[in-house]
Structures are given as structure tokens and as C-alpha cells.
């Protein structure tokens, strides 16, 4: 694993298209209408349909697996806090910094930002060494 304490991991940039929440609903089984029905979303005070938090967490996981060299076994643990909401059709940027490297692996502080909002905060990934 080619990562050093204090250094950033490669950024991941993704712009989910308008129908991404529909496809994530199908893939995950979470059909909560706030993700797929713009009229329902507006009725409950949202700007439109919003992304599933667990989709955005999936992007955070991807960025960390990529930082570890791409082996899916490298990700041992990931904790995130969801804040605000992710929207389709706007770019999401996942950034991380290596907090600590030890013999057994590394801890990566990560967040996902969209349009100036940190939609995933205080994410910590534990990567196997």
C-alpha cells in the first residue's frame, strides 16, 4: 500500500445523473419515494429527489479501496456521518487524508462534498496494510 501519513488520497469525482437514485433503488431495494418521486420529495420540503446516503457512502468506500490499490479486501471498516443531502446532477467530490499508518494498516479521514456542502462528514476508513 503506497500511502503515507498526512498525504491526500486520490480524489474521486462523480456526477450522478438524474435517474441514478432510481437505479440505486432497484439495486438496493430502497424505494423510499424521497429518492424517486420529485413531487413527493417537494411535498416533504426537499428541493427534489435526493440521493440515498448509502449510495454516497458507496462512493466513499470506492475512493478508499482505490487508495489501497483496488483490492476489495483492503477495506476493513468504514464509518460515516450523513449531513445535508446529496442531489442528482451535481458533482460529488470525495477527498481523504491519511491520518495514520501502522504495521497493520492505515486510517483515512474522508469526506464527500457537493456544491460546497459536506454531505458525508467525519468518515474514517480503516485499510488493511
Amino acid at each position: 500500500m503506497n500511502i503515507r501519513q498526512g498525504e491526500p488520497i486520490p480524489e474521486l469525482r462523480v456526477t450522478p445523473d438524474r435517474y441514478l437514485p432510481h437505479r440505486y433503488a432497484g439495486a438496493s431495494g430502497d424505494f423510499n419515494p424521497i429518492h424517486i418521486d420529485p413531487e413527493f420529495a417537494k411535498q416533504v420540503g426537499l428541493p427534489s429527489t435526493i440521493l440515498h446516503g448509502l449510495y454516497t457512502m458507496g462512493l466513499v468506500a470506492r475512493a478508499n479501496v482505490a487508495a489501497a490499490g483496488g483490492d476489495p479486501r483492503a477495506l476493513r471498516r468504514l464509518s460515516v456521518q450523513f449531513r445535508g443531502m446529496g442531489l442528482p446532477e451535481k458533482e460529488i467530490v470525495v477527498r481523504g487524508t491519511v491520518r495514520e499508518v501502522s504495521g497493520s494498516g492505515a486510517l483515512i479521514d474522508t469526506e464527500a462534498e457537493q456544491d460546497g456542502n459536506r454531505i458525508v462528514r467525519n468518515a474514517v476508513a480503516e485499510l488493511a496494510g
Binding site: 441514478l20 439495486a27 431495494g29 457512502m57 479501496v65 479486501r73 471498516r77
Partner: protein
């Protein structure tokens, strides 16, 4: 609310999920995975895996069916109109492969209040058909104005 302390530790019926290759592919495609081990059995074998590999966050798919009944339990009494998914944690051990049968058991880990918010924390423990632990999830829901 009375009786909340007695809910902590309450566990629910295990939920069995059979992992299909096409479901892994569908999920991997949606979240933008590009590693061929998530799509192609030959690539997975060449990389030393016994079948197509589920991406780590596929845990959200196979464990959701166990966690939903806990969250919907009327004795827990979450108010979904005021609910946000505040936080999530997964820890991973054995990889999950196409063809695996994953059994997940959910439980109530904690219910607490802070200022005007109420925190409901659920835990999920998932094992494969060999009894090996694959994932442990911690699901935190926050009820505003509770």
C-alpha cells in the same frame, strides 16, 4: 418513553439473502465500480477469488432486509416523518461472493436523547453459509424534535 431501556438488546428474526451474480453486477454498475472482479467470473478466478466478488458496500443490500423490521418495530416507535439516516458504519471480514447465502441478525443497540434529537442505533451481524462473519453494521437514525 417508558420501557426503552428494555428494548436495548432486542434482536429480530434472522434474514437470509442469497447473493446473485447479476445482483452484484447491477449494484457494482450503479455505484461506478470498474474492477472486473465485481463483474466477470473469469477475472475473479484469475485474481484468486472463487466467484464474482461483492463490493464492500453491497453489505447495505444483503443486510437491509434484517434491519428494516427492527426499524419498523412499533415498540421501538420511530417517527419516520422526522427521521434522518445520521450515520453508518460497517466492518468487514470474509468477502461475499456470488452464490453465497448471507444470514443477518439485527438488534437494537441503543436509544438515547440529546437536546431535541433522539438517536436510534441498530446493529446488524451477517454471516455466510459457513458460519463465518462477513460484516457487522451500525445504523444510526436521528429523529428531529423528538
Amino acid at each position: 418513553m417508558a420501557g426503552e431501556a428494555s428494548l436495548i438488546g432486542k434482536s429480530y428474526e434472522p434474514f437470509e439473502y442469497e447473493v446473485g451474480r447479476e445482483k452484484i453486477r447491477e449494484y457494482a454498475h450503479v455505484v461506478g465500480e470498474t474492477n472486473p472482479v465485481h463483474f466477470d467470473p473469469h477475472a475473479a478466478h484469475e485474481a484468486g477469488f472463487r466467484a464474482v466478488v461483492a463490493p464492500p458496500m453491497f453489505a447495505a443490500v444483503y443486510s437491509a432486509g434484517a434491519v428494516a423490521p427492527a426499524m419498523l418495530d412499533p415498540t421501538v416507535g420511530m417517527n419516520f416523518a422526522m427521521m434522518v439516516h445520521g450515520g453508518q458504519e460497517f466492518a468487514w471480514w470474509e468477502l461475499v461472493y456470488a452464490g453465497d447465502t448471507i444470514t443477518t441478525t439485527a438488534s437494537v443497540r441503543d436509544i438515547s436523547a440529546r437536546e431535541t434529537m433522539k438517536f436510534y442505533v441498530f446493529e446488524s451481524v451477517s454471516v455466510n453459509q459457513d458460519g463465518l462473519e462477513v460484516t457487522r453494521g451500525t445504523w444510526t437514525n436521528i429523529e428531529r424534535g423528538g
